[in-house]
């Protein structure tokens, strides 16, 4: 089964990102294909590398980065939602005159078309949010 996962909420505030992560991990362990994980609304905040969660708690951002690396996942942060919330990569920094970038490893910023494409190309779209 080919899956696209959508994550609508940021790390820690809601359980959505955690639920999406464990679902995605389980799907991979069962041999399914993750076409894309698309982060929308406050979900784009899963893509900042600047979080410092307490040592005794899970590191949500790193967990996604590590899963992406281990399985060559396509983690996409929506550009429009990212611009609103300040998630920035090199391209966005240059385009919008920002003096820093903060995108985490394994994430890339791209358009809403990536979500629509995911829905078209995948067998299932699973949305995690509030």
């Amino acid at each position: 089964m080919k899956l696209t996962i959508q994550v609508n909420e940021g790390p820690y505030q809601h359980q959505s990102s955690d639920s999406a992560y464990f679902f995605t991990k389980a799907a991979l362990e069962k041999g399914h294909e993750i076409f894309r994980v698309f982060f929308y609304h406050d979900g784009v905040n899963n893509g900042t590398r600047l979080t410092t969660p307490p040592q005794d708690d899970r590191n949500i951002v790193n967990r996604w980065s590590e899963l992406a690396k281990a399985h060559d996942l396509d983690l996409v942060v929506c550009v429009a939602a990212a611009q609103r919330r300040g998630i920035v990569d090199e391209g966005e920094a240059e385009r919008n005159g920002k003096d820093a970038t903060n995108i985490a490893d394994g994430f890339r910023i791209s358009g809403l078309g990536q979500l629509v494409e995911g829905a078209i190309q995948s067998d299932r779209l699973v949305v995690f949010g509030d």
């Binding site: 609508n8 929308y40 609304h41 429009a80 939602a81 358009g111 809403l112 078309g113 979500l115 629509v116 494409e117 829905a119 078209i120 779209l125 949305v127 949010g129």
Partner: protein
């Protein structure tokens, strides 16, 4: 044509209190370019998104409600509004924008985009879809 999927964008949240209504609409507009078989559903608090006369000056937010009237130009002609959700909220179709599309096969005749349906009818429409979008 066999590659076309039936997309249903489900709208259940009120506008302005949260961003979901607006950011959902952004997906619909971008998605229109992908030429799928698109429907929108407004139920629960989503029906509030279509209310006429929104004036956001006092809350300092962009009034995005005019965007709904452009949906016809994006070839989005199937907009389901759930009757029970309207009634529970003391609303009628008259409280909502009149959304239309122009049928080029009938000399650009203007047709209603909004289909007022019962919950049971909407459940049947949902059953017929391929992909459900939620925000």
């Amino acid at each position: 044509m066999s590659d076309t999927k039936k997309f249903m964008y489900v709208n259940r949240k009120a506008p302005y209190g949260t961003i979901y209504a607006w950011e959902a609409l952004e997906v619909v507009l971008i998605g229109a370019a992908f030429e799928q078989d698109v429907s929108l559903a407004f139920m629960d608090d989503g029906v509030y998104q279509l209310m006429k006369g929104q004036d956001t000056a006092g809350i300092g937010m962009k009034n995005f409600s005019p965007t709904y009237s452009a949906l016809g130009d994006y070839e989005i002609t199937k907009i389901y509004v759930e009757k029970e959700s309207l009634e529970e909220r003391g609303l009628t179709l008259d409280d909502l924008q009149h959304l239309v599309w122009e049928d080029e096969d009938e000399d650009w005749a203007e047709k209603d985009s909004i289909r007022l349906v019962s919950r049971a009818e909407l459940a049947d429409v949902f059953a017929d879809q391929d992909v459900m979008f939620n925000f």
